[in-house]
Amino acid sequence: MAQIVIDRIRKEFGDFTAVRESSFTIEDGEFFMLLGPSGCGKTTTLRMIAGLELPTSGQIFLDGEDISQKPPSQRDIAFVFQMFALYPHMNVRKNLSYPLISQGMPRAQVRAKISEVAEILGIKDILNRPVGGLSGGDRQRVALGRAIVREPKAFMMDEPLGALDAEFREHMAEELRALHDRMNATTVYVTHDQLEAMQMGDKIVVMNNAVVEQFGTPQEIYDKPATMFVADFIGSPSMNFLRFDGVIEDGARWVSLDGVTLNVPRQLQGAAGTLVFGVRPEHVALTDTGRYRGKILASEYLGTTQIVTLATANGEIKARIDSAQTAAIGETVGLEFDARKITLFDEASGTAIRSTLNSEVLAHG
């Protein structure tokens, strides 16, 4: 079991940069999420950790040892491929035994190990089947089996649920998480699905356009986004952005939007120009008394809650409120925001302005 430190790795394909100076640390036993939109460099990062791609610069440490230039066979890291990549000319048992045979493990031991893993994954009865005819779920299990059978230091998983039906994904996600909790092996998991990342991960790295935007626990990433990209990418519906021109002094506790004073966490940094008032829909309340006003445009009923869309002087905003509360379309209502949960951003750079809310997170992100 292992700790993995990624230190300023960079990957160029010709003159295209797929990953740019990324650094983060994966602690021993963590279920670690690499999250970002398609094409942002997640797979490339994962492949560099596994050794399928060598970084152009930067280092990767596995338990303190620099492995960035080693061949994959010497890293002791398992990889679950996006499309599983089971050896098509072998049956399930052969697929599972393949990583053990390369280590020169005696036959009897291989058999014992395979039946143990098959037991864990519930694939005992398909061991002698060719992999061609297996269902998506069984392929997934065999791919996992091939990874866990050799007890590697760490697992890399590239969108392992991406090839499964939506219905089955959730079930498999639970299985995966249970498997991890049982084995406690360091796992790096790539996904573009923010819900999956929030549900399953101990830690999340959010990548965009070849750079790491933020790195932290799901709560930190959700509550204290470091950039507007993260704030927008995480959460459904995503964070509201109310744009305004203004100046913030170091130590400010409020901002003024459309002439209305709104409380915010104490700011630890000055800023000026076009600023963004970021608030999650669940931190917006509709009241009669609120001085900041919005006109209700639409309402989407979700059972216990509803999402109300309003037009304000600073742009559209969505509020998640109790579905019992009435929200008549066309009506103008007052809005109140949970002052402790507000993040201000600098529009030009897209980064969060430091405040008592997020200063700790920004320091290591």
């Binding site: 399928l52 994959p72 491929f81 990549a85 089971l86 098509p88 990583p99 091939r146």
Partner: protein
């Protein structure tokens, strides 16, 4: 699929297609059948007109193909009654068997040179195709074009330089020389065909093997090769058919030790008149190895010949 499916052909068009295929097969099979039948005819039946479809089969052609014969005096024939069935056949013409003909040797040469060059083409072609498919090779496209360009003229156009070069190097009329020559001609086809097949094999399989602790070469031959079996089989058949049937270079560069069957078979004609049954017998036997090879590999071939168009 039900008969109402839009993608399924209707019974009528199926019937039509079937008839066409059978007709085509008949047309192409007639010369083959002709040759095979002629091999079992007597010389007079072979040249009779109209051609005989019903005749009394004899192995005379085959005996003549494999032996050399001499005429003997009546006393000799009387004193030495025939001991074997093939001597008996020869006695009808008052001849005795003097020894084996060169056909066996020439046939063996064909086997050695044909299969040898096919094997070499496949080995080199697979390695080159793998490299072109998987590694970053400077000027890869230009190199591939260059390799293909060796096929843009008929090989025989370079016959004279090759003839002179081979004489200088002592490769004329040697097995090695012919194997190298046929390999050189076939390798461009092999590289291009195999590259197509290997390109189709997802890299993930090899990468999985690398992750599973194998070296790149182990990943190549344990994972890539089995996947490429289809392509290798069909490429091998193309290479073998070329090397097996090649006539011009064989005439030019071989005369004795390394002479292959194609230039030899027509020379049977010269021995005591036109021995058509023996020529036909030679052609029939000559067909067999490629036929057997193709039948053995046909399972792969049928899938391979579409060049991966419908794999997965």
């Amino acid at each position: 699929m039900s008969s109402f499916s839009v993608t399924d052909p209707s019974p009528r068009s199926k019937w039509f297609a079937g008839t066409l295929v059978i007709l085509y097969a008949l047309i192409t099979m007639v010369p083959l059948a002709w040759i095979m039948l002629t091999g079992f005819k007597s010389p007079s039946d072979a040249i009779s007109y109209p051609p005989k479809v019903v005749f009394e089969p004899t192995l005379e052609g085959y005996v003549n193909l494999f032996t050399t014969r001499t005429r003997q005096t009546d006393e000799y024939l009387q004193a030495n009654p025939p001991k074997t069935w093939y001597e008996e056949i020869v006695r009808e013409y008052d001849m005795v068997i003097a020894g084996p003909s060169k056909f066996g040797e020439r046939f063996l040469n064909s086997v050695i040179i044909g299969f040898g060059s096919t094997f070499l083409s496949i080995v080199l072609g697979t390695l080159a195709a793998y490299a072109f498919s998987r590694f970053k090779i400077p000027l890869a496209d230009d190199l591939l074009f260059f390799i293909l360009s060796t096929r843009m003229m008929p090989p025989i156009a370079v016959a004279i330089p090759i003839f002179l070069m081979y004489r200088q190097l002592g490769l004329s009329d040697t097995h090695l020389g012919m194997i190298l020559l046929y390999t050189a001609v076939n390798i461009s086809l092999a590289v291009w065909l195999l590259k197509g097949f290997i390109d189709e094999i997802p890299r993930e399989y090899e990468e999985a093997a690398l992750i599973d602790g194998y070296t790149r070469f182990q990943a190549f031959y344990k994972v890539v090769l089995p996947q490429a079996a289809t392509g290798i089989a069909s490429t091998a058949i193309f290479c073998l058919i070329f090397a097996w049937n090649e006539y011009a270079f064989a005439v030019l560069l071989t005369s004795g030790t390394a002479q292959t069957a194609p230039p030899f078979i027509p020379t049977i004609i010269g021995v005591g008149g036109l021995d058509w049954p023996a020529v036909a017998a030679g052609a029939t036997i000559f067909l067999l190895p490629v036929m057997i090879f193709t039948i053995l590999l046909r399972k792969h071939l049928l899938r391979g010949i579409t060049f991966g168009a419908v794999r997965k």
